[in-house]
Every structure is written in C-alpha cells, then in structure tokens.
C-alpha cells in the first residue's frame, strides 16, 4: 500500500488549476491556427486572431485567459493500492481554494442555487471519483465556464431514433445554443449509460483534446462527420457567421439499457482549459 499525503494532492492540484487558467496549451493553440486557416469569414478570422493574441497575453502576463475561471471539475482516478493520509475530498477542495485565491481567479460558485450566496473561494469542486487498479492518483482538472455550460443539453431518445436521432439532437443543440457559448467550440458527447452517466461522459469528452479521436473507428468517423456538419451551421467564431463553429467533436460511450438511448451534449468554449497531474 502506497501512502500519499493529502497536502501533496492540494499542492499539485493548485498548480495545475492556476496553469490551466493562464495557459490554454499547445493543442488549443494548434486548433486556433487550423481554424484561422480554414475560416472564410473576415470577421471570423478577426475573432480568431483576437483569441490567439488573448492566449499570448494570458500566458505571458500570467493572467486568466477568460474572466470566467469556471466551476472546478475534477476527475479523480484513485488507484486501489493508494492510501491517502488525510481527507482526499478536502485536499482537492483545498487545492481549488489555494489556486483561486493565489492565482487571482474569479470566484463564481454560489452556496445555494436559490439563495445565491457566493462561497468566496470557488469551492466546492465537482469531483468525479473512479477507483482504478494501481498505486497512483490521477487528477484531471477542468475550469468549466458557465456560459457554454448553460447551452448544454441531455435527451433520453427512443431506441427507434437511432443514430440519425443522435445526430439530429447534437446538431439541434449546437444550432440553438452555439452562438452564445463562445465559439469556436469543443463539443463533448456522452452516449449511452443511464441519464446521469451520459452527462458525466459528455463532460469527460468535452475535456478531451479536440485532436484525440475515439479509439473505436466507428465513433472516430462519427466525430469527423459531426465536425464537418456542425461547421456547415454557419455560426462561426463568436457567432458572427463563418465556417469554423467547432474545433472538434469528442464522443464517449457506455453500454445502455435495451429501452434507452441517452445522449448528452456538453459544450465547451474556445477557453477549453484543462490539465492533468499524476501522483
């Protein structure tokens, strides 16, 4: 049994969270380059150039890429041979508290959805735990902006709706909400499982690099097809009209019930901020 101190988790996560908010990372920068080359609208190209310049300023001056530094979402894969000395959930929240205070990140979390009082430190995080083999802890952090989250949707389709129904739902969701979600977007799709499983999968997918395809060739091809079709919607960068609405479509799947076809679409903005650390 390997022992990891709770404080190590806190320190490592705080670093990842600050860095993700300042530095959008090489993969998104590559996606912006490709978007600039592909975009046909002059206004759209101007928006992409602003986004690139914004990324440069944020990284160089160590300031947040976007003022909405998001809900802290953490996928924690905990090896079953790890013993955490202390409280792991508290340690994760302490890491978020430290990052959002020391990194001058915005605190956007309210303690209650109706009474709406700010918690003051951007905690609690939304934490998804997974127990996995091994003696390590892997934390994947995402800073999920509220504007794009608000445009996300889930549907319990009928099995008869099939693949065409799934495509239609994804196209309709992006068509209706894409302009408000700070395009160019990364689209996370969760397909299968139960109601809540599809949503968690869609979040996982939205936090994946737009260059990593689903390992199943069928879904990899579907990701490519959906990207092409979504870019024909005409929404364009910042929603001002154009040929680049999405940078990528990522699909994650899970087995599902014989009467069900759950599909969730989690929309991520161009401020697709995420990072990982393994302890």
């Amino acid at each position: 049994m390997r022992t990891i101190k709770a404080e190590e988790v806190t320190e490592a996560l705080a670093k990842v969270a600050i860095n993700a908010n300042y530095d959008i990372g090489p993969e998104m920068l590559r996606a912006f380059e490709e978007a600039l080359a592909a975009e046909k609208s002059e206004a759209g190209r101007e928006v992409i150039r602003q986004i690139q310049e914004n990324a440069r300023i944020a990284r160089q001056e160590c300031v947040p890429y976007c003022q909405d530094t998001g809900f802290a979402v953490v996928f924690a894969e905990v090896g079953q041979e790890v013993h955490v000395e202390g409280n792991l959930t508290d340690a994760i929240n302490a890491g978020i508290r430290k990052a959002y205070s020391e990194g001058y990140l915005r605190k956007s979390i309210l303690s209650d959805p109706i009474q709406r009082k700010n918690t003051g430190d951007n905690t609690p995080a939304v934490i998804h735990y997974d127990i996995v083999p091994g003696d390590k802890i892997r934390l994947t952090f995402g800073a999920k902006g509220g504007g794009s989250e608000n445009m996300s949707k889930q549907a319990m389709l009928k099995p008869a709706d099939g693949l065409e129904g799934v495509k239609k739902f994804i196209l309709e969701t992006v068509s209706a909400g894409g302009a408000n979600a700070c395009p160019p977007l990364v689209i996370g799709v969760g397909l299968g499982g139960t109601f809540e499983k599809s949503c968690i999968l869609s979040k996982k997918a939205a936090m994946r690099s737009p260059f990593h395809r689903n390992p199943d060739p069928f879904y990899a091809a579907l990701e490519d097809e959906l990207k092409e079709r979504l870019n024909k919607l005409g929404i364009g960068p910042a929603g001002l009209g154009g040929t680049v609405t999405v940078l990528g479509v990522n699909i994650e799947t899970y087995p599902c019930h014989l009467v069900a076809l759950p599909v969730a679409v989690n929309i991520n903005c161009h401020a697709d901020r995420h990072g990982e650390v393994e302890l």
């Binding site: 206004a43 914004n54 300023i57 944020a58 300031v63 700070c182 910042a238 009209g241």
Partner: protein, 184 residues
Amino acid sequence: MAEHKLKTPLSDADVQKLRIGDTVRLSGTIYTARDAAHKRMIEGLDKGQPLPFDIKGSLIYYVGPSPTKPGAVIGSAGPTTAYRMDPYAPRLMEIGMKGMIAKGKRSEAVKEAMQKHKVVYLGATGGAAALIAKCIKKCDIIAYEDLGPEAVRRLEVEEMPLIVVGDAYGGDLYIEGRKQYEVR
C-alpha cells in the same frame, strides 16, 4: 462594413450611424453591470431610487472581471452572455441608455426596444478577456461592492475593439452573419 471611432456618451446620431458588421473602437467612460446588479438597479427604480450613475447616453458592459492583481488596473474582463439581462434592458433603454456591450443573441423584446429608443448592441469577443483588459485604463467600483465581481464599476476605456452585433434598425448579426455561411 464601416469602421467607427466612438467616444462616450453616445447620442442618437452616433447610434444611427452604426450598422451590423461595422467595427467600433470605443473610448471614454462605460459602466459594468450583470445579473445581480441589473436586478438591484431595476428594484431601485421601482422604489423611486436613482441609479448609481448617469444613464443618459451611457453604455453598460456586461462583465464580471476576475480579481485585480497587485499593480494592475483590472483583472481579465471579457463579456458575459447577454440574454440573461434581456428582462431588464428595455427599462434602462427607456431612461436613456444608448448601448450595451456583451456577447450572444438577444430577445425580440430587446431588439424592438433598441429600435424604439435608438440603442446599439456592441459585441466583444467572448473569452478574449486578457486582451480586452488591456484597453481598460481605469476602474472604480461605484456601487454594490458586496456583489464582488458583479459590483457596478466605472471603466475608462481606450480603443476597445467591438463589432456592431445589433443596430437600431432591427439588424441582428447573429442571424444575418450566420445566413451567409449556413450550408443546408
């Protein structure tokens, strides 16, 4: 698509020159307000209380900046999505607001009120928050400090890069721009 350099406050004539797709470089004084501040301003008006700033000819920027680092004017300060302010905006247009700076689609009621009261909706690039902060030269909290990032701020801006996304003639770039590139 014309390019305009505008200075605040805005007159009806300033607004009537603008058409969707035009670019604007805005300089002068603007005010920030978003969800909670709008709610409070409207509740105040209902009780006969004055607004925390002179609304005549003013522009409101829908933004909740990130905290200011030591030595900086303001934190990152990109626009928030506008539709959440739709229930409040027409009321402010009635009493003299001339422009809104934000991102995203507006309701029909807002677009009608913009035509009636000659108001422009200027789009800032969502997420370009570090870039936009560079145009902000001064920032003072003038009301509702308890709201934190949602407090009302008076900003001095220089050459803020904006695009006309809604004009006083009913034009909506989110609809018209998309039409040009949508492949059915």
